[in-house]
């Protein structure tokens, strides 16, 4: 026994090293599983407050940029209203609830250069934000909420290896999955687009609406490169993101009224 204690004491540095690295390893693996509830994140009040303080200074220097972006978005929405105005049927049921609602939030922290990027926003469970909700920027989708605290939330960015979103080619309706390849923060890959479908450089990619989280037809980006090797089952498509992630200052969290119903229905269906 005494020998054992002597041994442990003599090698305490190596033993502690092994234990600490093991803990780190477990944390790394756990935090990357999407289903796992994550408690250890920057939505923690103290962390988020510190981040807010430094972001506020940065925002001040980028007011012009933010104004310009908002003006552009306004113009885009006005055109949309103009277009839709002529097509709204006369007998719209005003009691039917809008299936999607938007909550505006400010970006408190945002990275784009890592392989697993996250965005911290200043709306949390107090404002109705829940894990799994979709987040969109002024020009295109941004990601999904991963964890929330009282007044902050962490969003898993589209620029993250672990994030997949169902997307479709707007012209044809053919769909695939978008996932970042970690190379450039303004390009993303469209995967699993079968080789029989038609795709051109310049096609618009939008959300497909198949997952009940994202409303259909939100902009994702524009197809820039298309490759199809002889033996491939799927196209290799590179999409230029319509949202510039490095300039993200305000985002909208999308609250889907039907998500829980669709989810529970799907669970019933998928049960054998």
């Amino acid at each position: 026994m005494r020998k054992l204690f002597n041994f442990l004491f003599k090698n305490r540095a190596i033993l502690l090293f092994a234990v600490l690295e093991l803990i780190c390893g477990i944390m790394v693996v756990n935090s990357r599983q999407y289903q796992q509830a994550q408690y250890f994140n920057s939505s923690a009040e103290v962390a988020a407050k510190i981040l807010t303080a430094s972001q506020n200074t940065e925002n001040y220097f980028r007011l012009r940029d933010a104004n310009l972006q908002l003006a552009k978005e306004n113009a885009r929405l006005r055109t949309l209203i103009e277009k839709l105005g002529k097509n709204i049927p006369a007998n719209t049921d005003s009691t039917a609830p809008n299936p999607f609602e938007f909550i505006s939030a400010k970006v408190v922290n945002n990275t784009t250069a890592l392989f697993r990027n996250f965005i911290t926003i200043d709306k949390g469970s107090r404002d109705g934000v829940k894990p799994g909700m979709a987040v969109t920027g002024p020009n295109g989708i941004v990601g999904k909420v991963k964890a929330v605290s009282d007044s902050y939330a962490v969003v898993i960015s589209l620029l993250n290896f672990d994030e997949h979103v169902s997307a479709a080619i707007s012209r044809t309706g053919n769909f695939g999955t978008i996932r970042w390849d970690g190379v450039s923060p303004d390009r993303i890959k469209l995967l699993y687009l079968p080789r029989h479908s038609s795709i051109w450089s310049g096609d618009t990619v939008v959300t497909s609406g198949f997952n009940a989280i994202f409303p259909p037809d939100l902009p994702v980006g524009i197809v820039r490169e298309v490759q199809l090797k002889d033996n491939d089952l799927f196209y290799d498509v590179s999409v230029e993101l319509s949202q510039d992630f490095s300039r993200l200052q305000f985002v909208d969290v999308i609250f889907s009224r039907d998500a829980s119903q669709i989810d529970s229905l799907r669970k019933i269906v998928e049960k054998p």
Binding site: I23, A47, I50, S54, T111, T112, P185
Partner: protein, 169 residues
Amino acid sequence: MTRSLVFIPVSFIVFLLLQVMLLQRIVLFDTAFCLAYAGFILFAPMEISTVVLMLMGFGFGLSLDLFQNSAGVHASATVLLAFVRNYWLEFISPQGGYDAAGADSYDAHGLVWLLTYVAPLLLIHHFILFYVEAGGFHMFWTTFGKVFFSFLFTLTVLLLYRLFTGSRR
């Protein structure tokens, strides 16, 4: 010892706030990160034991991970850095050993010694950090670019920091 008791918590907070509020936001060409927080371990007083240093590194790494949502990534790199540091210090010790004066003796042996002390440790730290973040070697060259350019960036910043603050003797 009493000096360390004040020095360590203060430098913990200073390095952490500096990293989170300023340095983390500076990324050159989407590849070069400034990870000057490694200075918290590198320039901690020489007499600190490896065990304490590792606990310091673990605490600091986890705090930083909290801000980046990267649970365990920074911590694993700082723990390794802390584990290796004292062995490396011993290995490159000048003849006659170190002056027992404390933290300031990092500047007492000249720039070449400082470079041989800092550079390999920093390289190890960056290597572990970026490959753990990538989750393996499947993006080897992209990740290697990040390791290399961040290494140059951080090294420059840390040496400048020592030049301006270190020569208080």
